[in-house]
């Protein structure tokens, strides 16, 4: 089981790095799905089954479908891919990439200075999560439902404004 964690971690990191460096959006989305599935495998290795299932259903399922729908609606062609290739010169990404890697270096030092605590144990099942979610965190659930309603209304409003002008074209 230890092997599962390290193996899926490597896949998650590699797939995420490939996802942000692709020129074609569809390729990037496919790599991102692989990365999310690998993170779900990490959750499984930590015996967090509920989080793993939610990761697959909502992240790799619903959110990725939303992305793919939008890519299909935008109908990005070959021209966009070529323009993207022009923007990906080393001169463009070297500076921000270096700064972000410096941040990773710093975070690594901070993480390694802590004690060597071991995760694992019996694991947290869906029952404990549900009891906690609808017990002490009930107000958070209500606020999350507000947020989702606001997101729904906002997306609907922005989407409904986009439609008439598309017909004008």
């Amino acid at each position: 089981m230890n092997f599962l964690f390290y193996f899926s971690s490597a896949i998650a990191l590699l797939a995420a790095a490939l996802a942000i460096s692709r020129r074609n959006v569809f390729h990037a989305l496919l790599y991102l799905v692989v990365s999310l599935l690998a993170v779900a495998a990490i959750f499984m290795s930590l015996a967090a089954a509920f989080a793993a299932v939610l990761e697959i259903i909502i992240y790799a399922g619903a959110i990725m479908v939303l992305f793919i729908f939008v890519v299909m609606m935008l109908n990005l062609g070959k021209r966009s891919t070529e323009e993207e290739a022009g923007l990906l010169k080393p001169m463009m990404w070297a500076g921000p990439g270096f700064l972000a890697l410096a941040l990773l270096f710093e975070l690594t030092i901070v993480a390694l200075r802590g004690g060597g605590a071991v995760t694992g144990g019996p694991g947290v099942g869906p029952k404990e999560v549900a009891l906690s979610l609808f017990g002490p965190y009930l107000i958070g659930v209500e606020l999350a439902s507000f947020l989702l309603l606001a997101g729904l209304v906002g997306a609907f409003y922005l989407g409904s404004q986009a439609r008439p002008s598309e017909e004008e074209k």
């Binding site: 890697l101 990773l104 906690s132």
Partner: protein, 102 residues
């Protein structure tokens, strides 16, 4: 269950977060930037789940669910905005929409 060091799990989460950050900083395509933000949110949620597994508490997974909800709402509004932007701008360049009109 895996008996892994807490540090190793947090390091993986940090790595994912930094990869997402590089994506936001480097890519100029709005779609890729949204995608990178998803990676960053996912990494933050992963850190919560790993910490929750370390102490055997359900709170980590509860926070993961909240992050999931926020990511879903964010991506819905973000993609709707992107569709709106895509009418005026041909190539979804983030720099092309730097000027707004009230």
């Amino acid at each position: 269950m895996a008996e892994i060091l807490l540090q190793h799990g947090l390091l993986v989460a940090c790595g994912l977060f930094v990869i997402g950050l590089i994506g936001v900083l480097v890519r100029r395509n709005l779609l890729f930037q949204l995608l990178s933000i998803e990676i960053m949110l996912n990494a933050a949620g992963m850190a919560f789940v790993i910490a929750g597994a370390r102490w055997g508490e359900a709170d980590g997974q509860v926070m993961f669910i909240f992050i999931l909800v926020m990511a879903a709402a964010e991506v819905a509004v973000g993609l709707a905005l992107l569709l709106r932007v895509s009418r005026g701008v041909s190539n979804l360049d983030g720099d092309a929409v730097s000027a707004m009109r009230g």
